[in-house]
């Protein structure tokens, strides 16, 4: 089953008296294990698409399905639970809670799922170790560099073992070297865990790591290119062990 499916999705925003079309009758399917890069100029609809897939916004037309569930049929609480269990988010400005340590920031989504404190701590520590921050777990965000903060955010997105991770310009606030390190990390996590990644980005170096490239223009997908340089999707399709 597809992780994400969009059928004829449109989204308009009123600007003055006229509605501006952010997405226009978009059809899209994302499969498990894909590493998808979403490209497009500013205002092309990238963030709107991520918000709709992330169950944080509702389309004016069409339907979004996550794991076969139509989002329009879910209540606000059910959408929160769906985000909690199936979707991970990585933000451009990291969005860590400043009063919590790295460990607590990663533990927090698990506490929202009412997972016992000790288990949540163990899983958060493992996730931080996975992103190379085992020695920084007790630091607050203001004691970490930009790259380290984004790694904490990645660990927070991964810790709930979601089916898809949505990232809106995750490297926009990082220098090029750190950006490459972060993308390498995400690529390896994609291969290790089989989780689907969908990125909105301007950076071209990301393209070499993608299994699929989507290009948006004026609310339409104008390019949908499957790349063969990563064979993760094929591995999953053929039933080989991932990670």
């Amino acid at each position: 089953m597809a992780v994400v499916k969009l059928k004829g999705v449109s989204r308009y925003f009123p600007v003055g008296n006229k509605p501006i079309t952010a997405l226009d009758k978009v059809d899209l399917t994302l499969e498990r294990g894909e590493f998808v890069v979403l490209r497009g100029a500013s205002g092309s609809g990238k963030s709107t698409l991520l918000n709709l897939i992330g169950a944080m916004d509702d389309p004016n037309e069409g339907e979004v399905f996550i794991h076969g569930k139509a989002l329009s049929s879910l209540s606000d609480k059910q959408k929160s639970q769906l985000r909690s269990h199936y979707i991970g988010f990585i933000f451009q400005s990291f969005n860590l809670i400043p009063v919590l340590t790295a460990l607590e920031n990663v533990q927090y989504p698990l506490s929202l799922q009412r997972i016992a404190n000790n288990e949540a701590k163990d899983r958060a520590a493992q996730a931080l170790a996975q992103v190379g921050l085992a020695d920084f777990i007790h630091r607050r965000p203001n004691q970490l560099s930009g790259g380290q903060m984004q790694r904490v955010a990645i660990a927070r997105a991964l810790v709930t073992k979601p089916d898809i991770i949505l990232a809106d310009e995750p490297t926009a606030n990082l220098d090029s070297e750190t950006s490459k390190q972060i993308m390498d990390l995400l690529g390896s996590l994609n291969r290790e865990t089989g989780v689907t990644f969908l990125f909105a980005t301007h950076h071209d170096f990301v393209l070499s790591r993608a299994s699929r490239i989507l290009e948006l223009k004026d609310g339409h997908i104008v390019k949908d290119e499957q790349l063969q340089n990563l064979n993760l999707v094929d591995q999953i399709a053929s039933g080989e062990k991932v990670g």
Binding site: N51, G54, M56, D57, D76, K77, S80, Q81, R83, S84, H85, G88, F89, F91, S93, N95, I97, P98, V99, L100, E104, Q107, Y108, P109, S111, L112, Q113, N117, A120, R156, T160
Partner: protein, 408 residues
């Protein structure tokens, strides 16, 4: 656990704002405890004043006195035999401090040139000295049993007749058998009951002297003083039962039934206290709502993040309400502690209040800090803090996630 820790850390996050919120809660709690404690002390002072100057805790009358006694008081006197029996029965109760008889009648007091209508009370001086501890001697000496013709004159009456200690007066009254008689009395002192109207036409004399003037061995009432006001209802019930068993045709009235003025004052001040509570509530509520709304605005992006990573609206609401609960708890506890210290300081300072209307004595400010008052107002502070957080919490929980995430 982590969610509670997050709430606590958020409280500590902006120290100045939390401090202002704590001040608002403490202001509310302290204001209400001090005012409530002051009113409670005033109520107690008034209550014990009327009990220990005029009413006692319980009064015992001949049956029918309260209905018909004002027209024919001589028909409703307790006779000497019943008086002796009842006194013995009442004195046997452990809650009773003393029981004393009084003979009340109206008369005309004259100094030879002027005459004034007076309310006379024949008393047992020794027992009355214990019962009427709130009656203050303002001139001369107290009344003793050997002062057969001595009288204590109400302070206002003493002044209006321009009397001096030792002045000779004549008291005229209608006797129990309906004739008219007079006795010479000597003004040995002036007294204040604390109520100006009473002091303007009141006098006390030895019971035996009063009985001789009235040609009776009976008394109007027996006044019972208990060792604690809280026993009043219990002793009333006990005496009713005993009198019924003994076949005594008597009726009882407690201070609560007789102190109309006290109840009027209590009702008036309770009304004032209620209005003050509403004003304090409004001030504290607006203060806390304001600071909580600021906290919500500052943390808009954080709220969006919590919602994005799976936090429900209830989770966001719970976070802000938890923060208010923590602030309310700390503010209320500190408010209660400061209230106790302030109350003790103010009481120790013995600041005198001006003489209240209708009263003839001033009194020092005392502030009671009874457990009941403390916990109720502490809880009030906590509830106000939580209630104040509901609007900001709802506002936070209703934020559009995508807009909140874009908020910088």
């Amino acid at each position: 656990m982590l969610r509670l820790k997050l709430a606590l850390l958020n409280v500590l996050r902006n120290g100045r704002r939390s401090f202002i919120t704590l001040l608002a809660i403490q202001f509310g709690v302290i204001s209400l405890i001090l005012m409530g404690g002051f009113f409670a002390s005033m109520y107690e002072g008034m209550r014990e004043g009327v009990i220990r100057s005029q009413l006692g805790h319980i009064q015992i009358y001949q049956q029918g006195f309260n209905q018909f006694g004002s027209q024919q008081p001589e028909e409703y006197l307790i006779d000497a035999e019943v008086l002796q029996k009842v006194t013995k029965l009442v004195e046997e109760l452990e809650q009773v401090e003393l029981v004393t008889p009084r003979l009340n009648f109206t008369g005309l007091l004259t100094d030879g040139s002027r005459s004034l209508a007076v309310v006379v009370e024949g008393i047992n001086p020794e027992k009355e000295a214990l019962l009427s501890s709130a009656v203050k001697l303002t001139a001369g000496e107290d009344l003793f049993e050997e002062d057969t013709d001595g009288a204590l004159i109400g302070d206002g009456l003493f002044k209006s007749l321009n009397l001096s200690v030792g002045a000779s007066l004549t008291l005229m009254a209608t006797t129990a058998d309906g004739s008219f008689d007079a006795r010479d009395v000597t003004a040995i002192g002036a007294i204040s009951t604390g109520t100006r109207e009473v002091d303007n036409r009141f006098m006390r004399m030895n019971l035996q002297h009063a009985q001789e003037l009235m040609y009776t061995e009976g008394v109007t009432r027996l006044v019972v003083l208990l060792n604690d006001t809280k026993h009043t209802d219990e002793v009333m019930a006990l005496l009713s039962e005993v009198f019924q068993e003994q076949g005594l045709a008597l009726e009882l009235r407690s201070w609560n039934d007789l102190a109309d003025y006290y109840h009027e004052v209590v009702n008036l001040f309770d009304g004032i206290f209620f209005v003050v509570q509403i004003i304090v509530l409004a001030i504290v509520l607006l203060g806390i709502v304001n600071t909580m709304v600021m906290a919500v605005m500052e943390r808009t992006q954080e709220i969006g993040t919590i919602r994005a990573i799976g936090g429900t609206r209830g989770e966001v609401m719970g976070l802000f309400i938890s923060e208010a609960f923590i602030l309310g708890l700390i503010g209320s506890v500190l408010g209660v502690i400061f209230s106790i210290l302030l109350a003790q300081g103010i009481t120790a300072a013995s600041i005198m209040m001006p003489t209240p209307p209708g009263s003839s004595q001033n009194y020092p400010i005392r502030i009671f800090t009874e457990a009941d008052l403390l916990w109720k107002n502490g809880l009030f502070g906590l509830l106000i803090a939580v209630i104040s957080s509901i609007y900001p919490a709802v506002k936070a929980s209703r934020m559009v996630i995508t807009k909140a995430l874009r908020f910088a």
